[in-house]
Structure formats: structure tokens, C-alpha cells
Symmetry: C2
Subunit: 169 residues, 2 copies
DNA sequence: CTGAACTTTCAATAATTTTTGAAAGTTTAT
DNA sequence: ATAAACTTTCAAAAATTATTGAAAGTTCAG
């Protein structure tokens, strides 16, 4: 396989992976492009490489910066902005987990907490009890996931790998 | 909060969680409905509860069955099919992980393996080396994720919790 | 200050994904 | 074999999500 073909293939595959991960296809493709580019890239470079519009490139690069997956950098003597991607796949994973924790798990936990306050009356006592029990069990699980994510996203790769290997043995 | 309102809220929230998880909104809502329903439900019941069409209900129930999140059951003396949801949230998580491993991680690993065969020539030797190195590091990570998922999806909740607690300490 | 170089915004448009519902298919009781 | 009860399919329609590109905004050198 030729390098160009391989790069293209990687970008496509990363794009489709991303789209199952709350990351839109183009954003994931831009991220893939950064993952395999040694050099700094400008918005223009991204537009050309992926054949997308200026607005689209700008918006998705911005979001990638918000996620901590791409950094803005200045190139001496250039007016234009340049970007570089986070290459460390472990850090990438941590950032994505953190972001999804905030966007998904935290709202879910809020709702689950509210749902525990459901009132029962004599008519539906049993039904309410069954409901509350199930909500409680989902909430416990969500809390476990939440604290694990918090721990993991603050940890070093080494710590993680070492402990994880033990865990998996 | 009233029970009905609480159920409605749970279904909505689970729906929006699902839509970030490669599970479409309606499928996730149907799943939520099953999570909080003690009784068996027919396709008709689901249609009514969520105000969706027959085709939609049928298709999504079928997919939930494929995912192992809903079971078909027969009610004595009834012609109609009835369904019951998997209530154990740990099992639900295992099934979802397993499914996503198959649908996302495995194809990714295949592509990564292919990409390692990229040919270099004198002109782009260094570029190919950098690319191969990065692909290799992504692949190692993906393999770690893959084997962890395989281990986790086959394990008992108790084993998992116990080991995980140790891990998180 | 001015204008060139660059970035951001956003309404219109396009692409994708989901839903509907009627028709076709299947199963079962008689 | 028939027909009623039920399930599945799928093309068309609706809803949602992503993309474009031109216009507005910003920054900075001269």
C-alpha cells in the first residue's frame, strides 16, 4: 500500500469510528489528519486535505481545541494560525472520556437523583417501590462509572497501564 | 414528582444518552421503557406508550433482541408476542460493550493491521517511518482495549466489582 | 486610521438518518 | 384450505444533522 492511500484509509476509518462516539464525521477526520501529520497545519491546509469549506474547517477545529485534542500554535513570521494535534493516544482517550462524562453522564446522574424523589400513594405503592429500586440500582452503577472516569482522566498512563495489567491478569 | 412524570423523564433521558452511544433515540427509549416495566409488553404496548408506528416499534424491538437487551417471551393463551427487558444494568453494559467492540473496534483493528504494510521508498522513507510508528502506537492501544473488553464482557459482575474496586483504590 | 489578511458566524442548502404506514408475509385455529 | 391475528418489509416522507459560502468581524502592519 502507498503512503497516500494509507493516510486516506486511516482518515476514513477514524471518521467512521468517531461518528459512533459523539464526534461528527468531519471533526473526527480532521482529528485523524492531525494524528498522522508531523507538521503544523493551517485551517487552509485542512480545507484542502479534506476538501471541506472554510466554515466547516473552522468550526470543527474550534471544537477539537475545546476538547483538548488540537492546539493552536504560532509560526514565527506568519500571520495565519497554525495547529498541531495531540499525538498521544492515551491523552486523546482521556480527553474524550472527560468530555463525554460531562456531556452525558453528569446530566444522567442529575436526572436519576431527581427521579428518586417520586411520591407514592396508597394506590400505587408497589409500583413506585419497584421503580425507585430500579432507579437506585442504575444510579449506583452510574456513580461507579463517574468516579472511575474521574480517577482515570486524572491519571498518568503509566499508573493506568500498570494497574490495569494487574487488573486484567 | 408523580410516577408517570418520572417515567416519562427517565425515558427521555435514556433516549438522549443512547443517541450518543450508537443507539438511536427511539431504540433507547424502548429500552428505557422495558427497564422500568415490571410486566411483559407487546409491540402494541410499546407503540402506544411511546406513540410510534408499528414498523418503527417492530424494527427497534428486533434490534434490541439482537443486542441481547430484550427477550421474546410467550404468554400462555396469547397469540401475540410479548417481550421483557434485561433489567440487570451490569449485563446491559456488557452487551452494549460487546456490540460496539464488534461494530467499531474490530473493523478499526483490521484497518490498522493493513496500514502497517505501507511501502516506503527512498523519497519518503522518514515520512513512512513516522506514519508507521504512529499507527503502531494506535494499534497497541486498540489491542489493549480489545482484550480488556473481551475479558470484561465475559466476566461476572462480582468479579468485576471486586477487582475494579481494588483497581480504583 | 486604512486596508489586507485572516477568522468567525449563520442562514440557506444538502446529506443523512429516522419514521411512517400500507402492503406483503407468516402463523395458527378451525 | 381459509381467514383472522399477528409480524415484517420497504419506499416514500419527515426530521435531524452537517455543510457551504458569502458576509461580518477581527487583527495588525504600514
Amino acid at each position: 500500500m502507498q503512503l497516500l492511500e494509507a493516510k486516506e484509509k486511516f482518515i476514513q476509518q477514524w471518521g467512521s469510528l468517531g461518528s459512533n462516539w459523539g464526534i461528527n464525521r468531519t471533526m473526527a477526520q480532521i482529528h485523524a489528519l492531525f494524528l498522522i501529520s508531523e507538521e503544523l497545519l493551517s485551517a487552509e491546509d485542512v480545507m484542502e486535505a479534506l476538501k471541506i469549506s472554510r466554515g466547516n474547517a473552522n468550526m470543527n477545529i474550534r471544537t477539537l481545541i475545546d476538547w483538548g485534542l488540537v492546539y493552536k500554535e504560532y509560526q514565527a513570521g506568519e500571520r495565519k494560525e497554525f495547529f498541531r494535534g495531540e499525538k498521544d493516544i492515551w491523552k486523546v482517550t482521556q480527553r474524550v472520556m472527560k468530555m463525554r462524562q460531562r456531556q452525558e453522564l453528569d446530566p444522567m446522574l442529575n436526572v436519576l437523583t431527581q427521579l428518586q424523589t417520586v411520591k407514592s400513594d396508597k394506590k400505587n405503592k408497589e409500583e413506585v417501590e419497584a421503580f425507585t429500586k430500579q432507579i437506585k440500582s442504575i444510579k449506583s452503577f452510574a456513580e461507579l462509572a463517574d468516579s472511575s472516569l474521574t480517577k482515570i482522566s486524572g491519571s498518568e498512563e503509566n499508573w493506568f497501564l500498570k494497574t490495569f495489567m494487574k487488573f486484567m491478569r
